[in-house]
């Protein structure tokens, strides 16, 4: 019975060959080939670049947010951060300790080496007043 079912379910050879001889069948195959070829070309062209950018932008945004968050966490006006550069310099001057010249300082740190123009001016004025008082 199984063999009979298998053979009964099949399309006859004549009908199958008629399907193979359908008009414009080869034209439809060529159209399908061209469509797949165009799809492949698009995939390897700027569409691919856009697809990559679509994935990269959220990732880069996360990195930017993380970087901004780190900068905010170590901002100089934080109450737990180091004291202002001017106050440190005054303290050192008062104690007679030498202060490293700017060229010897690391500009990557927010230690007492990093001074602003206002701080320098204030120190000079301060020194001048102290000398005058002596």
């Amino acid at each position: 019975m199984g063999r009979a079912l298998i053979r009964a379910s099949a399309l006859g050879d004549a009908e199958a060959e008629e399907a193979a001889n359908a008009p414009f069948l080869y034209a439809r195959i060529r159209a399908r080939i061209e469509a797949e070829r165009r799809a492949d070309e698009r995939a390897s062209g700027w569409f691919a670049t856009l697809a990559v950018a679509r994935r990269a932008v959220p990732a880069l945004a996360l990195v930017a947010i993380a970087a901004a968050g780190s900068c905010w966490a170590i901002r100089p006006d934080s109450q737990e951060g180091p004291p202002p550069a001017g106050a440190l310099i005054e303290a050192r001057l008062a104690q007679g300790e030498p202060i490293a010249v700017v060229s010897a300082c690391s500009i990557a740190t927010k230690e007492e080496c990093l001074v602003s123009t206002d701080d320098v001016l204030a120190l000079l004025v301060n020194e001048g007043e102290q000398e005058t008082e002596r």
């Binding site: 019975m1 009908e15 199958a16």
Partner: protein, 200 residues
């Protein structure tokens, strides 16, 4: 060498030459390959799919895939162009049967009383249908019954009992080992017996 084998060899040589030309971009050569093999591929597809429109779709799919796979075809590493093309066709039919399983268009509940009665009669009498009208009914009913099987089971039964292929040829067509073909055939026949058993 017999005339038939000489003709086969000559045919293979023509196919190899056309395939090489098509691979180099000769569209006319590809069209010749299509014309030489379309009927055979359609007959093969017709073993698995009993609707002419589905057979036509499979023929389209097979030749479109063949066009892009020509770069991978080599006469040294493949048995023959015809065998290689048949393998593509069998895989396409297998994929279609799997897709059809995922969107079942019939279930056991869809069998009409007439179909159940006919099937019961056939199972009891083990007689085949003789006239055309019965054959048409049988084809639809047979397709409904075989649709209850998994795609793997239907594939191996169709190649074994429908095409009458030896196990080694089925293994070559499907990419399965000979042992796997035998195991699948045994399981497929058991599954078909279970399906038919509901009507006996």
């Amino acid at each position: 060498m017999t005339t038939e084998s000489q003709l086969d060899l000559a045919g293979e040589a023509i196919d190899e030459s056309l395939a090489a030309s098509a691979r180099a971009g000769d569209d006319a050569a590809f069209e010749q390959l299509f014309l030489r093999h379309r009927a055979r591929i359609a007959r093969l597809a017709g073993r698995f799919l009993n609707r002419p429109d589905k057979v036509e779709e499979i023929v389209q799919e097979v030749f479109a895939k063949t066009y892009f796979a020509l770069a991978d075809y080599s006469a040294r590493s493949n048995a023959s162009f015809a065998a290689w093309l048949s393998r593509i066709a069998v895989n396409a039919c297998y994929d279609e049967m799997r897709r059809a399983r995922r969107r079942p268009e019939s279930s056991l509940n869809d069998f009409t009383d007439e179909e159940v009665a006919w099937l019961s009669q056939q199972l009891r009498a083990e007689a085949g249908a003789a006239d055309i009208e019965s054959a048409v009914i049988s084809r639809d009913l047979a397709d409904k019954l075989l649709a209850q099987l998994k795609a793997d089971d239907r594939l191996v039964l169709t190649l074994l009992d429908g095409e009458g292929l030896p196990v080694a040829d089925i293994a070559a067509l499907t990419g399965w080992t000979v042992s796997k073909v035998k195991v699948r055939a045994h399981r497929a026949r058991s599954a078909l017996r279970r399906v038919l058993g509901q009507f006996a």
